[in-house]
């Protein structure tokens, strides 16, 4: 398939996944902010709940150029419908739709209609309307549109190369997002690791799990109190947990094994290396190594893989 098509499909699904992840994170942050607990530790402004969406998307300075201070209202405005923010939900849905429009021939009519419909609905929305109806309703809508696209994709798309690159985008974005979220949250959560059980900790941990649809999974698997080590294990190493790093890399590795051939091998090798670390990893070792260091290393590897995919598949140099 055309390199440009592969690239557009990859980014189409990355943007849709990003919109969903942002909606999940903002939703849980908003709900947490309604609780009567102070969670801000001195000297950790960057880990304040409303800063987390900005830190994860690398938009802290971009945000402060436009808004004077950190507040729930401003962050929501900025992350939900602000077209000037390239990572706002609005911008992500627009970018996904534009990629789809360029590649209508490579995706099914139902996929295009689903994405186009989403865009036509979000385009006229204004922030006051969203808050009047309740932001939660909006976030649910974003998640449902993402679920719908995924369902339509699985239900209608030919299992060809286009499908592979579409799926690759989803899992690359998700792995990146889960790792960043865990890393940022880890810093606020770490000081409490020794005295798990307090209300603040409970809500903090459960909020993290909920934002990744992992709360019920945790209960089912561990049937016990929520502890940081188990949360880390669930989100990093459990491959039956769909948003964990291991699960994402299972897909990424599998997809790249199919997409690579005798001329292009490096993406598969890199993915295999990352996958092996997760597949054979032990949480005790990771904690001993340092969770932050581990995740930083993981994000670096994912970044390298992302560049390799771009060079080998999307912008091949020949002629």
């Amino acid at each position: 398939m055309l390199s440009r098509t592969a690239s557009d499909l990859y980014w189409m699904s990355r943007y849709m996944e990003r919109a969903e992840n942002t909606a999940r994170l903002l939703d849980i942050t908003y709900r947490m902010s309604l609780l009567p607990y102070r969670v801000l530790e001195a000297g950790q402004q960057w880990a304040e709940p409303w800063a987390v969406p900005l830190v994860i998307t690398g938009l802290v300075s971009h945000y402060y150029e436009r808004y004077p201070e950190l507040s729930s209202d401003h962050v929501l405005r900025y992350m939900v419908l602000d077209p000037r923010n390239p990572s706002s939900i609005y911008s992500c849905l627009q970018a996904a739709r534009e990629s789809a429009r360029s590649q209508r021939g490579a995706i099914t009519a139902e996929m295009w209609e689903s994405l186009n419909h989403t865009w036509l609905e979000v385009r006229p929305m204004d922030f006051a309307e969203v808050t009047n109806r309740g932001v939660h309703e909006f976030f649910d809508w974003v998640k449902m549109r993402s679920h719908l696209l995924r369902g339509v994709t699985f239900g209608t798309m030919l299992r060809d190369e286009a499908f592979l690159f579409h799926r690759l985008g989803t899992y690359m974005e998700r792995a990146d997002n889960t790792a960043r979220l865990l890393d940022v949250k880890y810093h606020t959560l770490l000081p409490s690791a020794s005295d798990v059980g307090g209300a603040v900790d409970y809500y903090q941990w459960s909020a993290l799990l909920r934002s990744l649809s992992g709360f019920q999974a945790y209960r089912k698997i561990y049937r016990d109190a929520i502890t940081p080590v188990r949360v880390a294990e669930l989100l990093i190493l459990r491959d039956d947990m769909p948003r964990s790093l291991h699960a994402c890399m299972n897909f990424v590795y599998d997809i790249l094994k199919q997409a690579c051939d005798s001329t292009i091998q490096e993406p598969e090798r890199l993915a295999g290396e990352i996958h092996a670390q997760l597949h054979y990893g032990r949480i005790e070792k990771i904690i001993a190594f340092g969770l932050h260091e581990y995740l930083t290393n993981f994000l670096g590897q994912i970044g390298t893989l992302s560049e390799e995919i771009n060079e080998d598949f999307f912008t091949p140099a020949y002629a």
């Binding site: 398939m1 055309l2 592969a6 590649q103 209508r104 295009w112 186009n116 001329t263 020949y318």
Partner: protein, 472 residues
């Protein structure tokens, strides 16, 4: 313009329904107005959601608009279509023969049928194509011929479009929409299907692959998503199952065209290009083109790739060549023309010019190289100031203009704000030339939505209708 002055597609002069419209008229009378209103609204929603839109030049970039769709079909009886189809095939065969001739032996010039300055002196003539052999001698693989009815219902060819004619996707989508909204209508009358157009197109494109290529790779080359016809490009590529490429996706190495794929370079044999000649190769034509493929023209001349349509077809659909088409038919095919030409005054001729300047209020004046309804004067509806402006423009550069009598285009009942009223229509059938010359029964019917207006172009507020050719 009074009711009696134009041919009404549905009604006889006494107001009775024409026979081929009777089943539709009965249905319309029996269907509650709110059901129709609801269905018309549904059509708008679906067209938006499916994204059947076109970009409008001169408006904010990325502006997408719907082309208004009217639910009253334009119906053509079987016998009329038979004549039309024969006439269209005859015309397109002739124009292809003409193109082959003028880029080779130029017999037509030697025979003195058409003055050389209309051909080799024409800005649309591409000297680069002299002596270039194209597969099967076909230049215009996809031809859109604009046909109107005037007077008592006689058909006239208004113009030939042999460069990159567009609109076929609307023909197909309009049919899909009608079948979705009013499936019951299709059980009342045998409407000839058009859905196989993409298959015919692909077959046509494959049949003109370079010599020796047995399983050709066909691609559609688009200028990109900001082009007004981008929807059509994606639609056709998808329907044919071929790659939709932009210039940046292709490259030329040793006179062979390749596309960049995830599995390395892949050879391309036939390019259905929707980019104008000027922009197709910055090395051969416009150097500032960002849309084209450097080296493409050299590969084309070497016979390593087929372009559809060929380079240089514009000379055959030029308005200054149009008046000679009936003579061309006699010359190349030895047949009498089946379809009428509209009488055309060439303003470079002194006697024609004198007549036109004296009768500006009755005539339509067109720029020879204009298209899309831009740069024309419709005498009867123009203001005195507009007529005067054109008079000056004609005097300054007469060779740039032609004039034709104002045809009282036929009208078809159409939904407008005040209800159903007649509005003027034209018809663009699409003729495919490859191993055979074929066309699907029908075409794109465009309708001028403003009362009395004769301009049907979508860029000028025109709408479209489904076109039904009856099978019996």
């Amino acid at each position: 313009m009074s009711e009696a002055r134009f041919f009404n597609e549905m009604h006889l002069p006494d107001g009775a329904i024409r026979q081929h419209y009777q089943p539709f008229a009965d249905w319309l009378a029996d269907t509650p107005p709110d059901r129709i209103a609801q269905k018309r609204a549904e059509a708008d929603i679906v067209f938006h959601r499916v994204g059947i839109t076109f970009a409008v030049y001169g408006e904010e970039s990325g502006t997408e608009r719907l082309i208004p769709f009217d639910i009253v079909p334009r119906i053509i009886p079987a016998s009329e279509w038979l004549m039309l189809a024969q006439g269209l095939r005859q015309r397109v065969k002739t124009l292809n023969a003409f193109l082959h001739d003028i880029y080779h032996d130029q017999e037509i010039l030697k025979a003195g049928i058409i003055p050389p300055e209309k051909v080799t002196g024409n800005a649309q003539y591409r000297p680069e194509m002299d002596g270039v052999t194209v597969p099967k001698g076909i230049y215009s693989h996809v031809s859109g011929v604009d046909v109107v009815r005037a007077g008592q219902g006689e058909y006239y060819v208004l113009e030939d479009n042999l460069r990159v004619p567009s609109g076929v996707s609307y023909m197909l989508e309009n049919r899909k929409m009608m079948m979705r909204l009013f499936p019951e209508l299709f059980s009342k009358q045998p409407v000839a299907p058009v859905d196989h157009y993409p298959d015919l197109l692909l077959e046509t494109l494959r049949s003109v692959a370079p010599e020796g290529v047995s399983n050709p790779t066909v691609v559609l080359l688009t200028p990109g998503s900001y082009n007004s016809a981008y929807f059509e490009h994606t639609f056709l590529a998808q329907q044919m199952g071929i790659e939709l490429v932009e210039g940046q996706d292709l490259f030329v190495r040793e006179n062979t065209v390749y596309m960049r794929t995830t599995k390395g370079p892949r050879r391309v044999d036939v390019i259905y290009r929707r980019i104008d000649d000027d922009f197709i190769d910055p090395l051969a034509f416009r150097k500032d083109s960002m849309l084209g493929v450097p080296g493409l023209f050299a590969a084309y001349r070497a016979g390593k790739v087929t372009l559809a349509n060929a380079i240089g077809t514009g000379v055959a659909d030029d308005k200054s060549v149009y008046p000679y088409v009936p003579e061309l038919i006699r010359f190349y095919l030895g047949e009498a023309p089946i379809l009428n030409n509209v009488h055309t005054y060439l303003l470079a001729k002194p006697e024609d010019r004198d007549y036109v300047l004296a009768h500006l209020a009755e005539l339509v004046v067109k720029e020879v190289h204009g298209s899309g309804g831009y740069g024309m004067l419709i005498g009867p509806t123009a203001s005195a100031a507009q007529r005067e402006e054109f008079r000056q423009r004609i005097i300054a550069a007469p060779e740039k203009y032609i004039a034709q009598p104002t045809l009282s285009l036929s009208a078809c009942p159409t939904f407008v704000e005040s209800g159903v009223a007649p509005r003027h229509v034209d018809l663009r059938p699409f003729v495919l030339s490859g191993r055979n010359v074929t066309l699907v029964p029908g075409g794109l019917t465009r309708v001028a939505l403003r009362e009395g207006s004769l301009v049907v172009n979508s860029s000028q507020g025109g709408g479209t209708k489904d076109t039904w050719v009856l099978e019996s």
